[in-house]
Structure formats: C-alpha cells, structure tokens
C-alpha cells in the first residue's frame, strides 16, 4: 500500500511540503536543512512534523500522531529529537507548543545559543540514537547561534554523524555563516495566502481580513497581535492623535509594556497606521490597511497637518536606528509622537 505523508498541520507551503515529503518517502535525509522565511508561517511546526513523519511507525499515514514516536516528539520528550534555542531547556516545554503550532521566541540579538549548548549536543551525537530511526537536532532561531557556536557546529556538519539531521529554522538567514548555509539544503517558506490564513482565525473576534493585512499573512504574527490587544491599542493611539493630548500620551507610554521586541513591533504598527492616515489625507482611504477603522483614521487625517505626517515618518526612521543602539525605550516612544505636538499652532491657524 502506498504510504501517505500528512503535513496538514502546516497550512499552505506546498513547495516546502513537496521537498520534505519526497525525503521521507525515499528515506534520504541531508545532514542539514535550513528552513527560511518570514516569522509565523509554520517553519518550526514543520520541523517537528517532519521529525515525526521520519520516525512514525504507522504504515499508511505519516505522521499518524498516535504512535509512541509521534506522541513523544509532539510532547518534546523524545530522547533523540533535540531542540536548541536561546533559553534554558527546562522552560522549553512550557514555551513551545502553545496553541497548536510550535512558536520559537522572538529574535533578540542579545540572547544567544551558547557554545556550551552546542557541545552538549555534540556529546549526544557521539553516541547512537536511543530509539529513533532518524535523529533530529532542531535549532529554533538559528541566527541566535554565536559565531563560536556556529563554528563549533560546522565541525559536526563537515563530518555529519550517521542517522542525524539538523534543521535550522531562521527568519534572518543572513546572520548565519555562509560556510554553514552552503552546506544546507535550503527550504523556503512564504507568507500564507488569505484562504489558508483564514482557517486559523475563524473564531477570532478580530476580523481576519484586518489581521491578514496587519500581519502580511503570518499566522504567528497575527496571533501575537491579538494577544497584544491590537484593537484597544489602535483606539488608544488614534485617540491621542486626534485629541493631541499630552497627558493621554504620558499615560499610554507608562502603561505600554516596555520590552524591546514589543516596542519594535509597536514602531512597525505605528508606521502602518501613519501610512493609512497619509492615504486617507490623500483621499485614497479605500487602500488603507485598518479598513475597519476608516472613520477614525479619516478623523485623525483631518486633525493632522501634512508637515506632521512627514515628520512622523522621519522620526520613525530614526527610531528604528535608535532601537538597534539601545536607546532608552520610553524616549524612542516619545520621539515618534513628538511631531504631533510641535505643529499644533500651525494646524490651529
């Protein structure tokens, strides 16, 4: 009987699926896969599904999700499927696997996968697998490997142990050494089409169409936007823009959870919002991203002077650079709102 490979847990990504399916059907695995593509489109989930399919003992559909191998991998307790990520392994099980997919932590250059972690894996690889047919080392956030760790890893990749495949998942593959990239079988992942995207948000209170536009079709990103309370956030920001109320802004910045990756997301979202305001001011409000907020955005467009919008875009550029240089986060947040108050008199006149 023909064996069937079932990667339906990952939506879309037909090219990637095709490549990986044939690897399983022929049982031929390269020493290193590089899964690249935007955040939150199923790379890490696919890595886990792939490890399951390669070790599943079912004869008709792999991964079956019922056999002991699938079961152990899914719960991150398989002794031969190792995870490397910039985190203590104890926290891994709680962090991963929430809400169906596998969610690697955000890329943060200050956190790294240390050479010690790589050495521990290398020790493990000097022994045969415990029970797996094929052993996997899944490196989430491959870009978090330090240069030393990457070089240590290179040594293993030059003489790959038998029955072992590394899967490096990365949304910043440029940060991975070319010597490693050149040894990898690269599998590309793309933003999801709207039809695949909608499946994840059928029961969501936020309109999937808006989420799709805000997240570019990244399920992970969209889920995060929901957790973040994007709707109330949008309202708050528009309120500040329309009323030009300094006290409101101070309260808002005080409340906003100041964590670096989150602030950089806020900056990106703020940029999208101002793009909408600019479009509304140009009378092209049918093109805006936040379509459900058309009224409020037009209101804000009317309240803000052209010069303000121009200065905000300038401030956003500076803010992005400042974020990389560890400038005080509150200061950055103020700086992108500042132009609104500067031109108040002009607008009144």
């Amino acid at each position: 009987m023909e064996m069937e490979i079932d990667f339906s847990k990952v939506k879309g990504q037909e090219t990637a699926k095709k490549i990986l399916e044939s690897a399983i059907l022929f049982e031929r695995y390269p020493p290193l896969y590089l899964f690249v593509g935007p955040r939150g489109v199923g790379k890490a989930t696919m890595a886990v599904e792939f490890a399951k399919a390669a070790n599943c003992v079912s004869n008709d559909v792999r991964p079956c999700g019922r056999c002991s191998q699938c079961h152990k991998i899914e719960r991150f307790v398989h002794p031969d499927v190792h995870f490397l990520l910039p985190d203590k392994p104890e926290g891994l099980r709680q962090k991963l696997g929430q809400g169906g997919g596998v969610r690697p932590p955000d890329f943060d250059p200050s956190r790294e996968i240390s050479i010690r972690q790589v050495r521990e894996i290398q020790y493990e690889l000097s022994r045969p697998p415990v029970e797996a047919r094929h052993r996997f080392v899944i490196i989430l956030n491959g870009e978090n490997l330090t240069i030393e760790s990457q070089n240590a890893l290179l040594k293993t990749l030059e003489e790959p142990p038998s029955n072992t495949t590394f899967i490096m998942v990365s949304d910043n593959p440029d940060l991975i050494l070319p010597t490693i990239r050149s040894r990898a079988r690269t599998v590309k992942f793309h933003y999801l089409g709207f039809n695949d995207f909608v499946d994840f948000f059928k029961s969501s209170t936020v309109s999937p169409a808006v989420l799709y536009r805000l997240s570019n079709g990244s399920v992970g990103e969209a889920k995060e936007l929901i957790n973040w309370g994007i709707i109330s956030l949008r309202n708050q920001v528009l309120e500040i823009l329309i009323k030009k109320d300094l006290d409101l802004l101070t309260a808002f910045i005080g409340e906003l959870y100041v964590e670096k990756p989150l602030v950089s997301k806020f900056i990106a979202f703020y940029g999208v919002l101002f793009r909408d305001i600019l479009l509304a001011k140009l009378g092209m409000s049918n093109l805006i991203t936040n379509i459900d907020m058309k009224g409020r955005i037009t209101e804000a467009a009317n309240a803000l002077h052209w010069k303000v919008i121009e200065d905000v875009f300038e401030a956003l550029k500076k803010a992005e650079r400042a974020l990389k240089r560890n400038v005080n986060i509150q200061f950055i947040l103020y700086s992108v709102f500042k132009p609104i108050f500067r031109y108040e008199e002009i607008v009144v006149v």
Partner: protein
Amino acid sequence: MALSFTVEVSEFLKALKGAAKALPSRTTLPILQNMLFKLDGDELEIAATNLDFSVIEKVLVSEPEGEGSFTVPGKTILNIISNMTEPFISIENEGFTTILKTPKGNKYELMGLDPQDFPKITHPEGGDVFEFDTETIMKGVNLVSFCAAKDDLRAFLTGIYWHVTEEFEMRFVASDSHRLAVYGKVGEFPSGFEAIVPPKVFDFIKEHETEKITVQSTKELLEFRTPYASLITRLIEGPYPNYEAVIPDLPGNGVLRVNRDELLTALKRLLVFTTSPTYTTIWHFKEREIIGKASSPEAGEGMERLLAEYEGQEMTVGFNAEYLAEIVRKIESFEVEMHLYDPYKAVYIKPTDSTKDEKIFYLLMPVRIAESEFGESGESSEEEH
C-alpha cells in the same frame, strides 16, 4: 488497570540501588528521574536510564495481581525503602499513582508520570554473545581507566577501547592524548571483539559480584548481563585511533630501573612545589642516579635525588608529576622500568614483572621545558660528587 504485589524489602532495596545507578544527576527530560516498573507474572522489572546507559534489575514478588508498567520517582522510592525497618512491603498502582503499604499500616503515596514517555530500552539484539571473567575485566579497567580523557571533543578518547586482537589477546586501552595505558592478557578470547565503552559502566560489574559475566554487543550497543540484572550502554562512535603506531620499540636510548615506592614518595613530595595544571617537574637522568626538581613562586623549590640503575644517554626531561605519580601508583612490582628516547618523545613505563601472557604499560608525554631550566644547580651538584 490496577496492579498490586508484595515484595521483600531487602531484595527490593538491592534492586532499587542497582537501578538508581542509571538515574541521571541532571536532566532536561523529567521522565528520566523516574524508574519504570514492569510486572510480568511474579517477576518485577525495575528499569532506569540516563540515556547513556540503562540498568534493568529483576526481583521476585509474591501475590502479584495484574500485569503492566508504571513509573515511580526513582530517588523518592529509594529514600523510603532504604529507611524501611519492616521486612515486607506491598505495592499498589492505579494509573500514575503508586501506593506503598507496610504491614504495620504505614502508607506512602507516590506520583509517577506516563510510562508511555519512558525511553524505549533497546537490547543489542543479534549481536555476538560472549562470556568473560569479571576478574580480568576489572583488572584491565582499573589499570587503564584513569588515563581516559575526562571531557574531550574527540568523544572516543573518553572511552576505554576494549578489544581482542588477532592473537587472542584481550586489551584495554585508554588515552587522553597526553598519556596512554594498555593492558593486555592472552587467553581464550573471541578474536574480533571490539567496543569503545564509557568507563563508568564497568561499575556495574563491580557492584554485581559475579565470577562470569555475559556480554552481548553490536556496533552501537553493549549489554552486561547477570541472571538478575543487566546494563545496556550506548557505545561511543569510533574508530579508535591506531594507538599501536605510537608505541616505541624497546629498549629506549636510556633505560631506568628505580624503586617504585621511593619514586612515588619523591613525586608526592615534589608535587608540593608544582603548580596546576602542568605540575611540571624536571628530571635529570644519569648513571646511578636521577635528580628531580620542581619550583613554584608560592611554595619555593624542591629537589629529590634517587639512586637508580640507568643505562644509556644522559637526558633532562620534564614530566607532569601528577600524571607520573598516577601511573607509578598503579605499578605493583618492586621496581619501575622506564624507557626514554629523547626529551620530546613519550616515555615507556612498565612494571618489571610483566609476563608474555599478561602485560601492562603506559606511555607518558613529557612536558616541554626551556633548555636553561635545569641549569647551574644541577651541574654544580655533579661537581660536588
């Protein structure tokens, strides 16, 4: 599915202690802190694993009811049973909960994890089966294991290379690339046997005092078996380097015979004047005596003069005193024999009583020393004579 049985505490404790050797000291997989209990008829199997090696102990139980597996936190149950004063204990299991009850009515409830999550313990099926004298194995391991690397990226150096040569000589080899130990014994051993074994697993043989042990191995796994217990270890991936290529021909350019105890005590005294990690001592070899020196900024200087038989080229060689002392400690003959080649080549060290059928020898790399280090004081002492 409920299970229950009664077991004799002393036997149960022995089995638990045996299995506990495989409990990992730290782990990222919580299930490894548990032991897997498997009841089959009147036999209870207790398994524990740290993934590097697994131990399975068997113990007979009475009044068994039901069949199946469950897990129990390993250290917890060991702590309870080690402090048990009553002769019997009855154990009941339902789901993940295990209840221990003593005849007096004491009761302990333990929470296990899903036995499905416990790693599958694979036996080296289809591998060759041999029976070995435990005495020979333990002697070989004891003589060489200290030379294995403690922590090395070249994983094979952390193991003991256990093999049988084409001349039916069973050999134990260990090296950390600074020193090499080889123990060989000729006997009726199966030629072709070969494995790189983590040194720790030989403790299993020491603890299970049997005369003979069954060994079964494949390329990847090795199992030690006694009638009531077994240990399965993952072998270290080879190949082991061709160590025979570095063994020099005898005799060396200089041959020394020196009293073992005198050399050892001299080394111990000199160690006071050495510093970690090289423990450098400088030795001058000449006819009828050897002079050893060490100095450190903190402790000062020490000099040792030993009467000895030395034939051949006069030489000054630096040694790691810690390494040399460890080797001399393992030599049991009255005298130690050393073959020197030149100050940069490994010295060959052996007892004087080795036979054709049983031999042990060590190679030790010298420490590089500056030409001037064994300077004037050495020469001046020569003038005094």
